[in-house]
């Protein structure tokens, strides 16, 4: 899911710290964002906007942290509104709903572990590219 790569240049310590913080931001947001999934996206978006003018390494990782939230945003929003409709409307709990929640949990846990790993590696100045999101970031973020 994640692969360490060599970046186009050797990032400095201050860059590594900032880049790593973008992932920490999304980790903290996961906790607050579970009941309201949009918070995850907003937190990383604010961090991204704040570092838009940063160095390439920082921008690249802020972008990856932001786009990596997209899949979870869809998965968690669906789960959130499905749960709300069960609690407040005539919608009933089905095996399909429970299966969805399990799948959502697996994807959340996978993303959580990957984010944690990336935050640690990036802090050391190691460039970590995620599957899908790494390539997507390459397309969006240019030097």
């Amino acid at each position: 899911m994640t692969t360490p790569n060599t970046f186009v240049y050797e990032p400095g310590d201050h860059e590594a710290e900032k880049a790593s913080n973008s992932y920490l931001m999304s980790l903290i947001a996961v906790v607050a964002g579970l009941p309201l999934p949009i918070i995850n996206l907003l937190a990383t978006l604010i961090f991204y906007l704040g570092n838009r003018k940063g160095t390439y390494f920082v921008r690249w990782h802020c972008t990856q942290a932001l786009v990596s939230q997209l899949s979870l945003l869809f998965i968690n929003s669906t789960g959130f509104w499905w749960t709300i409709s069960i609690i407040f409307t005539s919608e009933q709990i089905t095996s399909s709903y429970i299966a969805y929640m399990f799948t959502a949990i697996v994807f959340n846990v996978a993303e959580f572990i990957a984010t944690m790993y990336t935050a640690i590696q990036t802090r050391k100045g190691i460039h970590v590219k995620w599957w899908i999101y790494g390539d997507l970031t390459d397309l969006i973020c240019k030097p």
Binding site: T89, Q92, S95, S96, I98, A99, T103, V106, I132
Partner: protein
């Protein structure tokens, strides 16, 4: 770009594949969800009936209850429902009404019997309420009106007093179900009636007739006010019968029906 799109497709496929695979497991059985909701319904039915029976007078006269029971038994037996599961109550009231409570309580008011011109009309309304019971509309409506969390808190001895239960019982007896649920109950009622060899046409007539009544006469016609668009529903039933052939057999002897009408008018 192509690589990214392909990877996104793979991710979506993995997600749906996992979801599809997991939904093949009967989680409801594993987590005993059905058992829990059945217990909630049983408890609610008990609480509702306890509160409702305190304010209303239940008819115990066998000349009234037995013929109504015979109609219900006929409907149940012909459609493979367990008659013992359904708790039938005949209530003395000026309101023309019939409704269902949770845990398969079926309540019929004496004025509904008095207003029915034939046993088939009464059986039609009962079949309609039976459909609400069999299709779990009662719990669906309650969950929609008050929410699942409130229902669970009531049944687990939460903060709800008898006033809350009373108002919920009122909701069930005096407000309409969703139009789609009403329509489903009508169509199911027609099926039940045909299976029981009872003519469904008088049920449509009953709806049409009560729908036509003058507003001042409507004040006691609760069943009609809680079942709006009677005319359209009546037409829909007639339409569904078009081209159908079915046998009919009387359930009650004519004199039993007459005696029943006489007793409820007393």
């Amino acid at each position: 770009m192509k690589k990214v799109l392909f990877q996104i497709l793979v991710l979506v496929a993995v997600f749906y594949g996992m979801w599809f695979g997991l939904s093949k497991v009967d989680w409801l059985k594993i987590f005993k969800v059905e058992q829990a909701s059945k217990k909630t319904e049983e408890k609610l039915g008990e609480l509702f009936w306890e509160v409702f029976s305190k304010t209303e007078k239940e008819v115990k006269n066998k000349k009234v209850t037995l013929p109504v029971d015979s109609l219900l038994t006929k409907l149940c037996e012909a459609n493979g429902f367990d008659r013992k599961e359904i708790k039938l109550h005949v209530i003395e009231s000026d309101d023309v009404n019939a409704f269902a409570f949770p845990n398969k309580h079926l309540v019929v008011f004496t004025s509904l019997i008095a207003d029915s011109r034939s046993e088939a009309e009464l059986a039609g309304v009962m079949a309609h309420e039976l459909a609400h019971i069999q299709k779990n509309h009662v719990m669906k409506k309650l969950i929609k009106e008050v929410g699942l969390s409130a229902l669970i808190s009531i049944t687990t001895g939460g903060s709800a007093g008898s006033e809350v239960i009373k108002s919920m019982a009122k909701t069930l007896s005096s407000t309409a179900y969703d139009r789609s649920l009403e329509s489903e109950a009508d169509m199911k009622a027609v099926d039940y009636l045909i299976e029981a060899k009872i003519d469904p046409a008088p049920f449509a007539d009953f709806l049409a007739r009560l729908g036509k009544d003058e507003p001042e006469e409507m004040k006691h016609l609760t069943w009609i006010s809680t079942h709006p668009e009677s005319k359209e529903r009546s037409e829909k039933i007639i339409e569904s019968l078009d081209g159908l052939t079915y046998d009919t057999q009387p359930v009650l002897a004519p004199e039993t029906w007459e005696l029943l009408k006489e007793k409820v008018k007393e």
